[in-house]
């Protein structure tokens, strides 16, 4: 699953995805949300004295923990969708929200 964490600039590594835009003192965007860091961007952030950056980390999850989490999300969505029928659109909406919860946490 993905986890958002604040990482000190020295600990940043190429390939990490920025989870929250980094702004300079004037409010200008230095690196925007969703950017995948490269050695160049990391060096430039350090040069500009940016102390830390919010990044998305992919963390391994124990299979049992994952299964329990999926089940909790399913129970909750089943409750919300209990009267919504089973049209194609409604099923697709269910799936999108399920995937979103699985990826971004409950």
């Amino acid at each position: 699953m993905k986890r958002i964490e604040l990482i000190a600039s020295e600990g940043l590594a190429p390939g990490m995805t920025v989870a929250e835009s980094v702004l300079d003192d004037a409010g200008r965007v230095l690196v925007s949300t969703g950017t995948v860091l490269t050695e160049g961007t990391i060096a430039s952030l350090i040069r500009r004295d940016v102390q830390a950056v919010m990044v998305e980390l992919i963390v391994e999850e124990d299979a049992e923990v994952f299964a329990a989490r999926s089940l909790r999300i399913k129970h909750r969505l089943d409750q919300i969708f209990r009267l919504a029928g089973d049209s194609e659109e409604t099923q697709a909406l269910y799936q999108v929200v399920f995937d979103y919860r699985l990826e971004h946490g409950e």
Binding site: R76, I80, F81, R82, L83, E89, T90, V96, V97, H104
Partner: protein
């Protein structure tokens, strides 16, 4: 229980005080690009109760202003005309509809739902090709029919709320079963009485039957925004989501990837924006 027919509801809504002049002017401004912003700011400032509430919201932590604003003109400069307009519309209307005598009506949930739908509509507006300001305002006001019913028919509407709970059905079903009219229709009558511009009127009256509206109607986007607040549980409770209308989904572009990308923005935007009105 006697049902409320349209005539009875419409009569009662006609007796409501009219909107403050400046609110009517702001509603009209959606269709008017060359509005005199300074003049509108002066008009808001003349309505002291309204101005005081706008300044309280403008100075709340939501906007995180470095310096406090002390006049409406400053608020317009710092926050922008559009933000002030949305704020004045919501504050001006809710001030005329007090629902505290309606048993079971949760004003806090109503507000959370309105703010949730406003943010959802705003974030989904680009995907749907709709003006973002209009989308935000439509989301904020889409359920004003509920507030009108709770404020004007508190006993009857209290029974509707209890019926919905005991039958575990959609609110519109409970309203139609007991009153013979639903909050979309009532909102539409109110929108007529208060001269909402037609895109907003359609969003209010048609969000539960968007397929009967035109393909470019704002009712389509608000229908999706409404469902989004339920699936993300922005109000906190597991209120059942209504079926997503197929025609509406296609009209909005039918792009699930774009929809999925909007979800985190909706949740974080809601977390910030809930402090505006609540």
């Amino acid at each position: 229980m006697t049902s409320l027919d349209r005539v009875k509801v419409a009569e009662k809504l006609r007796l409501l005080p009219s909107l403050p002049g400046v609110v009517t002017e702001l509603l009209a401004s959606f269709a008017n690009d060359d509005i005199d912003v300074d003049q509108v700011a002066r008009r808001i400032a003349h309505d002291q109760a309204l101005a005081a509430r706008v300044l309280r919201v403008a100075n709340s932590s939501f906007y995180g202003l470095q310096n406090r604003v002390s006049t409406i003109q400053e608020a317009v400069v710092v926050l922008g005309f559009r933000a002030v307009r949305s704020m004045v519309l919501a504050i001006g209307m809710s001030g005329l509809l007090r629902a505290d005598r309606c048993p079971g009506f949760d004003a806090h949930s109503y507000q959370l739902h309105g703010v949730g739908a406003a943010i959802a509509a705003l974030e989904l507006a680009t995907m749907a090709g709709v003006n973002r300001d209009l989308a935000f305002t439509a989301g904020l006001l889409h359920d004003i029919g509920k507030l009108a019913l709770a404020a004007n028919f508190p006993t009857e509407y209290g029974e509707v709320l209890a019926y919905r709970k005991s039958h575990d059905c959609f609110l519109v079903v409970a309203e139609r079963d007991l009153l013979g009219i639903d909050h979309g229709e009532v909102g539409g009558l109110l929108a007529e009485a208060w001269h909402f511009p037609s895109p907003l009127r359609e969003a209010v009256s048609g969000h539960h039957a968007p397929a009967t509206e035109t393909a470019d109607s704002l009712a389509n986007l608000v229908h999706l925004a409404d469902a989004t607040t339920q699936v993300l549980q922005l109000e906190g409770s597991a209120y059942p989501v209504m079926p997503l209308d197929r025609v509406t989904w296609q009209r909005l572009g039918g792009d699930w990837h774009a929809y999925a990308r909007a979800l985190p923005r909706i949740e974080s935007g809601f977390d910030e924006a809930r402090h505006i009105l609540i």
